[in-house]
């Protein structure tokens, strides 16, 4: 790809890496949270629901700022992570954290809907056949909810790729470290003559987003057919 300069290329690769890890890390937590919200009645359920959705409605800059306060070099969690050798402030790992938190509500929403669509009576049936809760989930609910889980993962991935506000506030815009694709577009637009670089990145973003959506649609249709037993 000769039309892509090294800085652009770096930004694309970094974005893919950040989005991959953000999705991979938050997916299990999102599945667990969605299951808890869909199936369990517990004290603080509504509070958890609100907490999960906050990043969706709060200004991303605010989320980024809160991350900075908590996970920055002086922040309590940042100091704790530093102590175990994991530095995230102004590192690509911080971008992963920001993207994961911003993608989380979207993933939980999609996954929760698909878990709610699975009849809990089937889990009872599995229990009467000897399956513990975890096994019943793994062998019945999880495969039946898979379309929604995949859709959630793809949405989360797309959101993580596109995350800008929280990322730039939390880990800044350092080429090669924290300059993701949207940050790079923003940076190019700030300098004279940067439009052509920005344009190629914009094209890539559009292609990646469209491809992800098409892939998730095809997968979801296949899984739906499988789940309905045809």
């Amino acid at each position: 790809m000769s039309w892509l300069g090294p800085q652009e290329w770096q930004a694309v690769l970094l974005s893919l890496k950040v989005a991959f890890w953000a999705t991979a890390l938050s997916l299990p937590v999102a599945i667990f949270t969605a299951y808890a919200l869909a199936r369990w009645v517990f004290y603080g359920r509504q509070a958890l629901n609100i907490l999960v959705h906050l990043p969706l409605v709060m200004p991303p800059v605010v989320t980024g700022y809160l991350l900075l306060v908590l996970f920055g070099t002086q922040g309590p969690l940042g100091v704790a992570l530093e102590a175990i050798g994991l530095s995230i402030a102004f590192r690509w790992t911080g971008a992963v954290l920001a993207a994961a938190i911003m993608a989380f509500p979207l993933m939980v929403r999609a996954i929760r809907l698909s878990i709610e669509a699975v009849d809990p009576a089937l889990e009872e049936a599995a229990a009467t056949l000897g399956a513990s809760r975890v096994w019943a989930f793994a062998t019945v609910t999880l495969p039946l909810a898979l379309p929604g889980i995949l859709a959630g993962a793809v949405l989360g991935f797309a959101k993580a790729m596109g995350e800008f506000g929280a990322t730039i506030t939390f880990v800044s815009n350092i080429p090669g470290e924290t300059q993701t694709l949207p940050s790079a577009v923003y940076a190019f637009l700030q300098v004279p003559g940067g439009e052509s670089s920005a344009l190629s990145l914009v094209l890539i973003a559009v292609v990646v987003a469209t491809g992800a959506l098409v892939a998730s649609e095809i997968l979801a249709q296949r899984m739906n057919r499988k789940a309905s037993g045809e």
Partner: protein, 359 residues
């Protein structure tokens, strides 16, 4: 295996308060909708948590509110059949059947699998998805799936209630085979008198969350206090063997030497059957009636007379076919001047016996 249950559970405005000791064989928990029988079954399986009490399966205590014991469903070793089959839609029939054996301690052998599949006639369905099955087929697969999890006891919650009459008739014989061929204790919940009559070794009658009474199917069905419709629901249960099929749509059965002519039965000659005869469908005569359209005239002797506050009375007769109950008016009783020990003739119209009452 003995089951003993003593629990209370507050639900939907009334309290279930049951003390129950169950013998082996098929026990039918029998009562109107909302009598608490499904809740009781759910409590035995651990799907419903009682407010207080104790449940013991054989030697194992699976629930004890005082000792804070509550064994989770998957460790109780019980099979469960739901009203809706609850097959796993993403798995083939074969994988549904095998589901329980992944978790079973003593797994079913290939021979046992084949035997269950053969008994239920589901061999041709193995590769199909549940969505492609009829209601009756789904319940057969659900029964097979429960049996192949090798439970210590099978609980069935109105397994036929969602099926139409034809599917019910198709499924009942499988439960009869289960009763006659396997030594598995079964607790079977139903509100249908005919299912109770055909399947039960023991009937437990429930109402308003309480156990009203318990006994053999014949005893319970003859007791106006235990059947759902009171005196109107009283019936006799006769044991009979199919002796002949006629080509005019009737079958002849032999009940202890007494010939009974009934609507065509689908079982082959030699099959052992139960016939439920509603007490209000039996007519009594002091002399042998002649010129009568009814085909069954049974010689009998009066064993007991029961009169309540209403206009009716229940006359219990000893016949070659066993005990037979007749519900007649007190006025008829006076007019006939029937006494205990007296001989009389019981008349049963062939067509008054529904096909679902024979089997």
């Amino acid at each position: 295996m003995n089951l003993s249950v003593s629990i209370t559970k507050q639900f939907q405005g009334f309290t279930l308060n049951s003390t129950l000791e169950l013998p082996d064989g098929i026990t039918v928990l029998f009562g109107a909708s909302g009598s608490g029988k499904s809740t009781l079954l759910g409590a035995i399986a651990g799907l419903v948590t009682p407010d207080a009490g104790r449940i013991q399966l054989g030697e194992r205590v699976v629930f004890d509110s005082q000792a804070k014991v509550n064994v989770p469903t998957h460790k109780r070793g019980l099979g469960y059949m739901f009203q809706d089959a609850r097959l796993f839609p993403h798995l083939s029939v074969e994988k549904n059947l095998n589901y329980g054996s992944y978790f079973a301690v003593n797994k079913p052998s290939e021979a046992e699998k084949r035997q269950v599949i053969e008994m239920l006639g589901i061999g041709h369905l193995l590769k199909r998805r549940p969505v492609k099955l009829s209601g009756g087929e789904k319940q057969r697969v659900a029964l097979g799936r429960a049996l192949l999890s090798k439970p210590d006891m099978l609980l069935a919650d109105e397994p036929l209630a969602a099926l139409d009459a034809a599917r019910k008739a198709e499924l009942l014989p499988y439960f009869e085979r289960l009763r006659d061929e396997k030594s598995l204790p079964v607790v079977y919940v139903t509100h249908s008198v005919s299912e109770a009559a055909r399947l039960a070794n023991t009937v437990v009658s429930m109402g308003d969350g309480r156990i009203l009474g318990q006994g053999s199917a014949a005893e319970v069905l003859a007791d106006p206090a235990l059947v759902p419709d009171g005196v109107r629901g009283v019936a006799s249960l006769l044991q009979a063997v199919v002796s002949k099929h006629s080509d005019d749509g009737l079958s002849e059965l032999d009940a202890g030497g007494q010939v009974l002519i009934l609507p065509q039965v689908n079982q082959p000659v030699g099959s052992q059957l139960r016939v439920r005869v509603a007490a209000q469908d039996v007519i009594l005569s002091k002399t042998r009636p002649e010129g009568l359209s009814a085909l069954n005239i049974v010689e009998s002797q009066v064993v007991s007379l029961r009169q309540g506050g209403g206009p009716g009375a229940i006359v219990t007769l000893e016949t070659a076919a066993g005990e037979l109950h007749a519900r007649i008016t007190r006025r008829s009783l006076e007019r006939l001047d029937l006494q205990v020990g007296q001989s009389c003739f019981a008349v049963i119209k062939t067509v008054s016996i529904a096909r679902e009452d024979i089997g």
